[in-house]
């Protein structure tokens, strides 16, 4: 028995409501993030990631209140991502009860922000989110680049080098999303997952592309991920978290059952 691999359901939240739809069978208000997070906690989720896609300033206040409510009722680690651009944003989320924040675009435009954040709040609560896309041709050695704006804008940054740099700047964890795979339900990009996981000493969370339980297994066994993040397979009751955990454990993966 040792450290368990983690399953992390991800909630996309806009103005205090879960979007992208969550359809639990016997839940009345499918849009309330706190109710959904509590449900996942009860099912045995190892952490919750809360992705805030709210654009307006007023909406951000709602987000803080939602995080506060969630932290009063859900007693597993809670990561908040989306719109984290300054130390004040981090302070506000941690005060509301988040355990970690995830920095994405702001890290690309201002890498020193990651350094400052890690020094001020500790690496344990700084997750750097990396959106990577494969840029190598079929006959070339595999290479991935960092993209921003939901995968639309290339940055010219090599994903593996970038991950190394972010860790040297103090990132305590990497949340890696493959932009090619996201929403495709055809599995993680195992190449980039493994390349980054082997390049850095901090935990790597694989994200983007989960459609089956075998994809979760591959992410850990072949991609060498320390945790797997998924949204739709759990939201739509295709699989429950206990099913996913039992499936992974049966394939020799250490899980918290």
């Amino acid at each position: 028995m040792g450290l368990a691999k983690r399953i992390i359901p991800c909630l996309d939240v806009e103005n205090g409501r879960v979007v992208k739809g969550v359809k639990f069978l016997d839940i009345r208000d499918a849009g309330d993030p706190v109710e959904i997070a509590r449900r996942y906690e009860q099912q045995g989720a190892d952490e919750i990631t809360f992705l805030d896609i709210t654009a307006s300033h007023e909406g951000r206040e709602t987000t803080v209140h939602t995080v506060e409510r969630m932290a009063s009722e859900v007693f597993i680690p809670l990561t908040v991502g989306g719109g984290i651009r300054a130390c004040e944003d981090i302070r506000r989320m941690l005060n509301a009860g988040a355990d970690k924040v995830s920095i994405n675009t702001a890290a690309v435009f201002n890498p020193d922000f990651v350094k400052e954040a890690a020094e001020r709040f500790g690496s344990q609560c700084i997750v750097v989110a990396i959106d990577a896309k494969k840029v190598s041709g079929p006959d070339e050695p595999e290479r991935w680049e960092i993209f921003t704006h939901g995968g639309r804008k290339p940055t010219g940054l090599d994903a593996v080098d970038w991950a190394r740099k972010m860790v040297s700047y103090g990132a305590g964890e990497i949340l890696l999303t493959s932009m090619d795979q996201d929403g495709m339900k055809s599995g993680f990009d195992l190449g980039v997952t493994r390349a980054i996981s082997e390049a850095v000493h901090v935990p790597v969370i694989a994200s983007g592309g989960v459609g089956t339980l075998d994809h979760l297994v591959e992410g850990v066994l072949l991609g060498k991920a320390d945790a797997v993040l998924a949204a739709s397979i759990f939201h739509f009751n295709e699989y429950t978290i206990p099913e996913a955990k039992a499936y992974m454990a049966a394939r020799g993966i250490e899980m918290r059952l």
Partner: protein, 216 residues
Amino acid sequence: MASVAVIDYGMGNLHSVAKALEHVSPETEVWVTADPEQVRAADRVLLPGVGAIRDCMAEIRRLGVDAEVAEAIASGKPFLGICVGFQALMDFSEENGGVDCLGAFPGRVCFFGDDLRDPHTQQTLKVPHMGWNCVQQTLDHPLWQGIEQNSRFYFVHSYYVQLQNANQVAARCEYGVGFDVALAQDNVFAVQFHPEKSQKAGLQLLQNFLHWDGRP
């Protein structure tokens, strides 16, 4: 009304600890405070902590929390240290090039290392040790009541405690090396993991703490 002081020395997130305490015992007053009078007045004292030990120890000394902790331990009232609040009770930590800690208990805080490996498979292990690991209780204690042997708790740390006095070890864990994850001595209990983030088992431990009379 019973009260618990969560010592606030400005490091990290105390809100999750306070919220978990309020959740398990709405009838207990939870004071997040650095005020010595309030810490003295509380029935129970909790020393949390996240982040780097050098900064934690600097704030602990600047705010006089070192004296508050010594007084609380000597008073015999139930005392709980969490994570860096556990490490701070030791003599010395290797972190940040070496930092003297409170010296309340003999022991050292050691680095997992840059090349930590599973002794059986030789696979590289990530540092920090982050996630849910099994906790092996090594003695009977009121704080373990209702918690199954080898229950999983949530950890996040790069440094671990080695207690000098084996009689003070209340639990062990394995991650490349074996290390001490809980200390028990008289009215003091301290843990490396985060009970406030460890769902059922963690909430049970906090509830046990709020009902504990401080006797082993």
